[in-house]
Amino acid sequence: MEIKRLEDKFQKRIDREERIEPKDWMPEAYRKTLIRQISQHAHSEVVGMLPEANWITRAPSLRRKAALLAKVQDEAGHGLYLYSACETLGIKREELIDALHTGKAKYSSIFNYPTLTWADMGAIGWLVDGAAIQNQVPLCRTSYGPYARAMIRVCKEESFHQRQGYEIMMTLARGTADQKAMAQDALNRWWWPSLMMFGPSDAESPHSAQSMAWKIKRFSNDELRQAFVDKTVPQAEFIGLTVPDPDLQWNEEKGQYDFGEIHWDEFYEVIKGNGPCNRERIAARVKAHEEGAWVREAAVAYAEKKAKKNTEKAA
């Protein structure tokens, strides 16, 4: 009975748009789902560094080199804010990283695709960050305080990412014939995976209903996807690129774009681990972690030695 009363009170707080903070009572399921969602978001930022870091050493101008490096570094920072928010729920970063490395935790499917050309840097910034922003802005009002505050920080920094990506695409689309072809090719490869980023239709999405009730999730997958398409298609048209969807059409009645069927089997294959780069991405993260073990150990050992010296001095 007690638990039921607490759950009712909790839901009333949610309905009143009150923020839930780390020490507040919360249903165990709420805590678990938040850990899953926040850590998945954090893992996505960190794994998401890899496809873009792939082009830092080959960036074709110093300005682009610096901007790309700064962008990827921001993503590391975002991962850090999110791990930090997640740790307030009573879990250690080590556990979260272990879950990622052993395949127990997921990250956004989009980062399992390869970055084959420089134009992919434009496509990722424009489409992938664009999709992420669509998702993230509503999260600034999510019910869990530390998550909302982390998202506010992330959103502040995110707008430069999308602008940078779009500017790269625009420069390429207005450049040489080779550059324009490079841009179109990147759009062709990244368009559908970006739409898949929003996840399957909510009817098929197992966690959606409860997440909406707890105001962890504020809009449905389909709503977010539609908003993304409506915003992005004119952007493509503006720079003379063609969205690779023969069924794309403006629907005057509905005031939005109709678009083609998404091939969800591709999405599920990638989630299962069969995307082009799943194994490489995880291998890279595992390698960094394992090769970094001696570094982390050295820092701990040194800190302990220093602390000991200080106590001896004080004595």
């Binding site: 007690e2 009363r5 607490l6 009170k9 903070e21 780390p22 020490k23 507040d24 009572w25 805590r31 920072g77 850090l80 804010y81 930090s84 928010a85 740790e87 307030t88 729920l89 009573g90 879990i91 250690k92 970063r93 080590e94 556990e95 272990d98 505050r149 982390a150 920080r153 073990a293 982390r296 150990e297 820092a299 701990v300 050992a301 040194y302 800190a303 220093k306």
Partner: protein
């Protein structure tokens, strides 16, 4: 993974150049205080000048009870986060 490579958690408080007081901005892992400050500069201030940084090991923070008196399951006046894991259970005890 040995425990000898885990860096403790630190809470970061920043007072901006024009600010009047330090605000809690988040946390990070660092092996010692110097590193915590350097990392806080890197992550939370992006190296802006004239900013004041405080870092505190998370386990040293004592937090008040949440307003709701119905929260029977939380210890009073205790740590900042909900967390079985913030209590150091000796390895010998096993999983708890």
């Amino acid at each position: 993974m040995s425990e000898r490579d885990e860096w403790p958690l630190w809470e970061v408080f920043i007072r901006s150049k024009q600010g009047l007081n330090h605000k809690h901005v988040g946390s990070l892992h660092a092996a010692d205080a110097e590193m915590a400050i350097e990392n806080a500069r890197d992550v939370y201030t992006r190296r802006s000048e004239g900013v004041s940084i405080w870092v505190v090991p998370s386990h040293l923070i004592y937090a008040s009870d949440p307003g709701d008196k119905e929260s029977l399951f939380e210890p009073a006046q205790d740590k900042a986060y909900r967390h079985p894991t913030f209590y150091d259970i000796p390895k010998e005890i096993g999983h708890m």
